[in-house]
């Protein structure tokens, strides 16, 4: 069972705020999900290799050259706050 303290710890790790009103529901549902996936513990997997990916081949590499052109003006049209081409965030250095 994941209690409010566990949920708060996960929320901080995930940078995800949940409101006090959401807490009971998140706690109950997350607990049932964790219990469901906990069934995996009972599966015998000794000597089984983990599968990270369906493609059984090495990742392709490309030449280490610049291929992107500067399109920051277009991209920054989606930004919530921009000043002099810079993305604004809360002050982190006094």
């Amino acid at each position: 069972m994941l209690g409010p303290d566990d949920i708060r710890r996960l929320c901080r790790l995930a940078r995800l705020e949940i409101t006090p009103a959401e807490m009971a529901d998140v706690s109950a549902k997350l607990s049932s999900i964790v219990a469901m996936v906990g069934e995996l513990q009972a599966v015998a997997t000794d000597g089984v290799a983990p599968m990270a990916h369906p493609l059984d081949r090495p990742q392709r590499l490309r030449p280490d050259t610049v291929t992107e052109v500067d399109r920051h003006e277009l991209y920054q049209q989606n930004a919530p706050l921009v000043e002099r081409d810079l993305y604004l965030v809360p002050k982190v250095i006094e």
Binding site: L16, E17, V26, L40, P50, M51, L55, Q77, P90
Partner: protein
């Protein structure tokens, strides 16, 4: 016009029985007429569609038509479309105008397709009912009180109601096949890596694959032929030649053995669904296929394995949505935050607030589940163990495909369920994908096609094939559709 399949419409356009502009107007009119009820579209791009249709008509007039010239289609709102809102069904991206096209959007447009708009979906493709969308649930054309399935629920409802002749979708755990089954249409999830994921908003990168929602296997072959193929902008794209699916689909099938996993027909399967699927298998046998019982021993472990792997990958993929460069930013943008704790720096609360407001409940649950299974001390017990179980599921298929050419069974455990019926219990919702998830874990191509009705609702037959055997799947499906008319049934009021 809307009763014609994509393949038939391609012939109509070439023979000049109809113009691309007339066709596009007809479907835009139908969207206007029916979508208030269905809620299948997040954005309708009417003006752009008519411009594309006019260009298609000019090409048709010069007999310069390419494979899809003038054919209207809809895109799931998970694919980036340059200059058009791309929301992924989320408040997080409600204000996001994609600055570029996804590879498949580009390819379909280059082949001449006309984009009608962007379809509604479960938020970030996380859901099996289209109820987690920020834009509200999509309604099933067969009964507006029921869900169309998800996450590609808007695409499925649009094709089933004939307000779009075909649509794109994505399938991470069943998100094309399950809604196709619940709305009575044909859905194809290709082999992992067959279709580029570039510009497709990532959910679980080792599982996600783009595919098609169409009326027939023939239509699916037509679209896949354009969508598939190597893309250097996707590092997991398969560098394999693309067969001429639209021609191969019509070739005779020879000597096909179909494996029937008996444990798919367990007590969790609705008796009506079981009967319809059994009847479809008997039909395939009558058409010349050999049926062979097989066991996919680890099927029932695929749901828990998936609900470790997919949320783990999602928690990582969705970390990019922080409200800095794009996406939802909470108000006030700076200063004090409600819920801030002593010791929190401004930036941490800023991220937490943006994400807390931008994401809906199901997305939050999956991010938190993923964070939990990847957190210190739990990694081996959950994530590594799930990856090992993934190997077992994949090995089950590899063993089966030494004896059979195709695996066939149900797509879903039941027909469409009521809106709100399963929202209180996530596990019950997750179990809706019990038969579809295994193909994603193994990266295999799979289809769902209409094979009957239960309580006046469509039932899906699922076909699964070895890697890159899409042509075989399409051929079997097309053969079945030539002998049956389940795929021709139209929901009442939409004929």
């Amino acid at each position: 016009m809307h009763t014609r399949t994509l393949t038939q419409l391609a012939g109509d356009l070439r023979a000049r029985r109809v113009s691309a502009t007339e066709l596009t107007r007809h479907f835009l009119d139908r969207i206007g007429r029916f979508d208030k009820t269905l809620n299948a579209f997040v954005t309708v791009t009417g003006e752009q569609a008519l411009t594309q249709a006019a260009a298609a008509d000019r090409r048709l007039a010069k007999s310069e038509a390419t494979l899809l010239t003038g054919l209207p289609i809809a895109h799931k709102d998970i694919f980036c479309t340059s200059g058009v809102k791309t929301s992924c069904g989320s408040r997080m991206l409600d204000n996001f105008i994609a600055p570029y096209d996804a590879t498949i959007v580009d390819r379909l447009q280059n082949a001449g397709a006309v984009m009608l708009g962007k379809t509604n979906m479960d938020e970030f493709a996380m859901g099996s009912s289209n109820e987690t969308s920020f834009y509200g649930p999509v309604r099933n054309p067969w009964n507006p009180a029921l869900v169309p399935g998800g996450s590609s629920g808007g695409s499925a409802a649009a094709v089933a109601s004939r307000i779009a002749p075909a649509a794109t979708g994505t399938d991470t755990g069943g998100s094309i096949r399950q809604p196709a089954a619940l709305t009575g249409i044909t859905g194809l999830k290709p082999t992992y890596g067959r279709v580029s994921r570039y510009g497709m908003i990532a959910f679980a990168s080792s599982l996600d694959q783009a595919g098609t929602l169409t009326r027939t296997a023939e239509d699916s072959a037509l679209l896949l032929e354009v969508m598939a193929g190597f893309d250097e902008r996707d590092s997991t794209s398969l560098d394999e030649p693309v067969p001429r699916y639209s021609q191969l689909v019509n070739e005779p099938w020879d000597d096909i053995t179909i494996g029937v996993p008996e444990n798919f027909f367990d007590k969790g399967l609705d008796a009506g669904n079981a009967a319809a699927v059994r009847a479809a298998l008997a039909e395939l046998e009558k058409l010349g296929a050999r049926l062979k019982s097989i066991e996919l021993t680890h099927l029932h472990h695929s749901v828990p394995a998936y609900y470790v792997v997919a949320p783990a990958e999602a928690s990582s993929n969705l970390s990019r949505f922080d409200g800095v460069r794009f996406g939802h930013r909470a108000n006030p943008p700076f200063g004090d935050y409600q819920g801030a704790r002593a010791g929190d720096d401004d930036l941490t609360t800023f991220y937490m607030r943006n994400r807390g407001e931008g994401f809906g409940a199901e997305v939050k649950r999956r991010i938190l589940t993923g964070t939990y299974v990847l957190s210190a001390g739990y990694y081996d017990a959950y994530y590594l163990q799930a990856q090992k179980v993934r190997t077992l599921v994949s090995d089950d298929f590899a063993r089966a495909f030494r004896e059979v050419d195709v695996v066939a069974g149900p797509t879903t455990p039941s027909p469409a369920f009521g809106i709100g019926q399963k929202t209180s219990d996530p596990i019950e919702m997750y179990l809706n994908d019990i038969y579809t998830i295994a193909a994603n874990l193994a990266g295999l191509p799979a289809m769902s096609l209409p094979c009957g009705f239960v309580r006046d609702l469509p039932v899906g037959l699922q076909l699964i094939a070895p890697p890159l055997a899409e042509a075989r799947l399409l051929k079997v499906a097309h053969y079945f559709q030539k002998a049956t008319d389940w795929h021709e049934r139209v929901p009442q009021g939409y004929a």
